[in-house]
Every structure is written in structure tokens, then in C-alpha cells.
């Protein structure tokens, strides 16, 4: 099990490349998912104040 995780982490010595790609993927997807939620939340708070 540990061996498996170790191989996974290092990826034949190229670990940083693979994992940075994955992290970048999550960053971009995360932004695209949270942006609409944020927009709606802002509209909510704006309208709330307006009343």
C-alpha cells in the first residue's frame, strides 16, 4: 500500500509535473464552479440591502 502511494507520488521522478497539472485543473474548475454561486450570493445581498 505504501509502495503504491509512493509510486503514485513520485510518478517515476516526474511527480511535480503530473501533480501540478492536476492542481491547475482543480483551480480552474473550482473557479468556474464557484463564480456563479458568488454571483448569486452578491445579487442576494444587494437586493436584501435595497429593501
Amino acid at each position: 500500500m505504501i509502495d503504491f502511494l509512493v509510486t503514485l507520488y513520485f510518478m517515476d521522478g516526474k511527480g511535480p509535473y503530473v501533480w501540478s497539472s492536476l492542481i491547475f485543473l482543480f483551480i480552474v474548475l473550482g473557479i468556474n464552479i464557484f463564480l456563479p454561486f458568488r454571483r448569486m450570493r452578491l445579487i442576494r445581498t444587494e437586493s436584501g440591502k435595497g429593501d
Binding site: 503504491f4 509535473y17 497539472s21 468556474n32 456563479p36 437586493s47
Partner: protein, 241 residues
């Protein structure tokens, strides 16, 4: 059928299911590819970037095609929802194209020794990214959003017609300038063991896209209709999220 409140209700009802399905498929696909698919004999483990890179590239291109279809529908049938779908899809498509470019670059460094090379496919993907950016920029610069939608529709339809031409001309430009004996090893020839997780990843990415599109559409609808009564009654009384 074309009423925003209805679409909003639909979208909100679908969203959780979509999200769960997307996350499951996406995670399983990535786990499988990154962790369990066989190691490539030529490139070693670094080829696993392919499970992020290829689905992103596929999505980046298909989304632009979808945007052109939305644009066409918006122009011909004056369907407001098509216009909203178009602009909601744009940042998602741009994001995937950016991921494809960046992960491709990251993949290139250990395998070809360079962060970038002006081959036909990379160049075309870069240009596609620019096309996305111009659509987003133009839309945000026009205040009247209905007008913005229609303008963007023209741009999207124009864009899709120019894409094959650009691809052809970049291909031809490539052959003209005879790059040095740089034979880019394309993706490793894949066994079914590699193909399957890749397909699952592509499916997972598509589902995530639909999730993001639906969510983005909700935000777009609310944003445009915010002064209408149905928004005041329905949306503002909802629980956050």
C-alpha cells in the same frame, strides 16, 4: 417553455443530481488513470497527464462548437435562453482550453524538453483560446445584455467558420516552414487499459461541464431578471446555495 423562471427551476432541481454524478464519474476516471492505468513504456508515468490534457482539449473544442450552435439558434429563433447558454459556456470553454494549453506545456517539458513548440495543434489551440477571450471581452463590454447576446452570437458563428480555415492555414504554415527534425511523439499508442480510463475521464469532464453550465445559467438568469417579481419571491427566499 421559454420562460426564465421555469428554466431556473429546472436547472436548480437538476443541479444536485448532476453534481453528484459528475463528481463520481470525474473522480473515478481520474483516480483510475492517474493511479491504476499501466505505465507507458516510452514515457514512464508522466504520460498520465494525458488524462487531464486530452479531455480538456476535447471539451475546449466541443464547447466552442456548442457555442456556435447556441449562437445560431439565438440568431435564427431569437431564443433568449440560447444566448444565455452561450455566454455561460464561454468561460468554461476558455478554462478547459487554458488547462489543455498549460497541461500540454507541462507535459512537453519532460518529454520533448521544451515548454512550447509551434506545431500546428498547439498553435490552433492557442488561437482558439483567443477566440474565447474575445467573446468574453466583447460581451462584458456591452451593457444591454440582450444586445450583447446577439453580438456574441455573430462572433461565435463567425468563429466556428474560421476555425477550420485557421486549422488548415496553420497546418500549411507548418509544412511551409519546415521545422527541424522535430518529430513530436504524439500521445502514446494506447492499450485498452489506458483507453478505458481516458474515455471515462472524457465522460466525467463532459458531466462536469454540464454541471458548470447549468449553474452558470442559473446565475445568468437571476442576474438578468433580478428586478422581476418572480426573482424577488422565489430566489431571495431560498436557502443560500
Amino acid at each position: 417553455m421559454g420562460s426564465p423562471p421555469l428554466f431556473y427551476q429546472w436547472a436548480s432541481a437538476f443541479l444536485p443530481w448532476l453534481g453528484v454524478l459528475a463528481i463520481i464519474t470525474f473522480t473515478v476516471g481520474l483516480f483510475w488513470g492517474l493511479g491504476f492505468a499501466p505505465t507507458d513504456y516510452k514515457q514512464g508515468d508522466v504520460y498520465r497527464i494525458i488524462f487531464i490534457h486530452v479531455p480538456s482539449a476535447i471539451l475546449g473544442q466541443s464547447i466552442y462548437l456548442m457555442m456556435a450552435v447556441f449562437g445560431f439558434i439565438s440568431m435564427v429563433w431569437r431564443a433568449k435562453i440560447a444566448g444565455m447558454l452561450l455566454i455561460a459556456a464561454a468561460p468554461i470553454g476558455a478554462g478547459f482550453t487554458l488547462i489543455a494549453l498549460v497541461t500540454g506545456s507541462i507535459w512537453g517539458k519532460p518529454t520533448w524538453g521544451t515548454w512550447w513548440v509551434w506545431d500546428a495543434r498547439l498553435t490552433s489551440t492557442l488561437i482558439l483560446f483567443f477566440l474565447y477571450m474575445t467573446i468574453i471581452a466583447l460581451h462584458s463590454s456591452i451593457e444591454n445584455k440582450t444586445k450583447a447576446d446577439r453580438t456574441i452570437s455573430i462572433l461565435a458563428v463567425l468563429g466556428i467558420t474560421i476555425v477550420p480555415i485557421i486549422k488548415k492555414s496553420v497546418d500549411w504554415w507548418q509544412t511551409l516552414h519546415q521545422p527541424s527534425t522535430f518529430s513530436l511523439t504524439s500521445a502514446p499508442s494506447m492499450t485498452p487499459d489506458m483507453y478505458q480510463p481516458l474515455l471515462l475521464c472524457v465522460l466525467g469532464f463532459y458531466l462536469i461541464f454540464i454541471f458548470m453550465l447549468t449553474n452558470g445559467l442559473r446565475a445568468e438568469i437571476i442576474s438578468r431578471e433580478r428586478d422581476k417579481n418572480w426573482v424577488k419571491k422565489q430566489f431571495l427566499n431560498e436557502e443560500i446555495g
